[in-house]
Symmetry: C2
Subunit: 129 residues, 2 copies
Amino acid sequence: MRIGELAKRAGTTTRALRFYESEGLLEAQRTPNGYREYDEHHLRLVREIQSLQAVGLSLEDARPFVACLRAGHESGDSCPDSREVYRRRLAEVDACLDRLATVREFLLARLAFQDPCLVPEPKEFQCSN
Amino acid sequence: MRIGELAKRAGTTTRALRFYESEGLLEAQRTPNGYREYDEHHLRLVREIQSLQAVGLSLEDARPFVACLRAGHESGDSCPDSREVYRRRLAEVDACLDRLATVREFLLARLAFQDPCLVPEPKEFQCSN
DNA sequence: GCTTGCGTTGACGTGAGCGTCAAGGTTTAG
DNA sequence: CTAAACCTTGACGCTCACGTCAACGCAAGC
């Protein structure tokens, strides 16, 4: 299948797929006229990337998973590097949950006119997805 | 006090303070030589902005609070617009907590070789702080 | 033959909150 | 007097995952 169809079936855009390729995450065959040609394996790979993004992982974080699949493994998360990414993300999510619980208490207190004082985070703190 | 001292006392940078001014959040007097001049009210305002950022609000969201203070109120969150911002953020935080709990379960299951299938969010979903 | 709808590469734009020069003027310590 | 340490404005850089043109080639239906 060509890039338009893959995009449609994966629920994304051709731009995103070309971007993945430029990042070395999605390599495609070329037909004689220069068109990219994909198969079902590519579709599964794109779905894997989307799944990783859905848990808040970056495309950089997706590299170990792609490498794992390219190494012939059944699933992208059966390799040590991939599992390490999962563990790291889990720790981030836990920290994020803690922080958001604190923020929630702060907001509730403020809305109840209690005037608390939120302790600011020492370093830049980021929660995503 | 001048901009360097205000930055130091607020634990931020001169660049940030000038940026706040460019956004209309922090207006300063000028000495004859063009230097910005601040007082304790400005310091409290900067602290207020930092506090709002700490709960994940944007500088845009801080506008109602600044306006509330400029209108002569004791605290920036005693005006309806400010409280509405709090309520909106609270809803965001709640949604974020739900989403992160789901993500957490997904990660735990994957790390336990359970191979679940994470339902992707329909629209772009963002959690911050 | 012409239009329409695919595909290609390349380059710039987006948002948020500043960081980081650059090139100068001012104040202060020695 | 001089050098260091302030201050000024202006402009570009940064992150991240693409969106949005621009300008072009290729293929199929009428």
